[in-house]
């Protein structure tokens, strides 16, 4: 061992501790995304533990100063896909011609007071409606939807996390949002 070796080890230990602390500080935000990528709380907890175990093992491959939250989510989405999600049913091919109007029109009709208060129109939906509708969105679309609309990632971040082109992010996001609205519309009576 050279004379500088103890110093090198001390620096490395300090960097590792800093990395671990930063990663743990982000865990609430990572969980927020993880919880909606999978169906159950148990799955989300398992996925979080696998992700953090892997992150702590491979911390050296993280480049300091880059987006750590995106780096963690990249591990998490890869693990989630590796879990055999590929066995899922074929991608959603149902037509979505109604576009974005459909849910709006249906909710508008169901509100009789005619005040035109759009915030109240939305409140016709319950939290369960949203959670169930999200889980009905096929995975490929849901991954993008959850990263961008719930996780506040940019299209570019989502493309890197999922290792897909940015054009694919945009088209999946577009379709995912429509599927979500169709699922929500199915939950509105009338």
């Amino acid at each position: 061992m050279s004379e500088t070796e103890p110093r090198r080890l001390a620096v490395e230990a300090r960097n590792r501790v800093r990395f671990e602390e930063e990663a743990l500080d982000l865990s609430d935000q990572v969980y927020r995304v993880a919880r909606r990528l999978v169906s159950s709380r148990e799955e989300a907890e398992d996925l979080m533990q696998e992700t953090y175990a892997r992150a702590f093992r491979s911390w050296r491959s993280y480049t300091p100063g880059t987006n750590l939250r995106a780096w963690l989510l990249r591990i998490l989405t890869n693990l989630n896909i590796d879990r055999g999600r590929r066995r899922q049913r074929a991608p959603d091919e149902q037509p979505l011609e109604e576009g974005d109007y459909f849910l709006y029109n249906k909710l508008e009709r169901s509100v009789s007071d005619g005040t035109g208060d759009e915030a109240r129109v939305v409140e016709r939906l319950s939290q369960d409606d949203v959670v169930n509708a999200l889980s009905a969105v096929p995975h490929d679309f849901r991954d993008v939807l959850v990263l961008v609309d719930l996780g506040d990632f940019t299209y570019q971040d989502a493309a890197q996390i999922l290792d897909i082109p940015i054009g694919t992010v945009m088209s999946r996001l577009h379709r995912g949002r429509r599927i979500l609205k169709r699922e929500l519309a199915d939950k509105v009576e009338g």
Binding site: E20, R35, M48, G99, Y104, Q127, V131
Partner: protein, 79 residues
């Protein structure tokens, strides 16, 4: 693809999601804003889409269980 001068409501609908995503260029954003000020229907559609996004975000939020945070911390490399 239609423009604001040909069919303003159709164009407004087309750019509504990119508008909410704040990815429109300055010209398109200004055109959309102008149309939203003039058109009651599109203004209601816009407010609806904006409220829906906020509602979905809030409804989908489930705080991390405190025990999980402890379990994650326990995975750290021992000093």
């Amino acid at each position: 693809m239609v423009g604001f001068e040909l069919d303003p409501c159709a164009k407004c609908e087309e750019v509504m999601q990119p508008f909410l995503d704040r990815i429109l260029d300055d010209t398109e954003r200004a055109e959309a804003e102008r149309h939203l000020q003039q058109c009651g229907y599109c203004a209601r559609r816009y407010r609806f889409e904006e409220s829906l996004r906020r509602f979905v975000r809030q409804a989908a939020l489930e705080p991390m269980p405190p025990e999980l945070k402890q379990k994650l911390a326990a995975l750290r490399t021992p000093l």
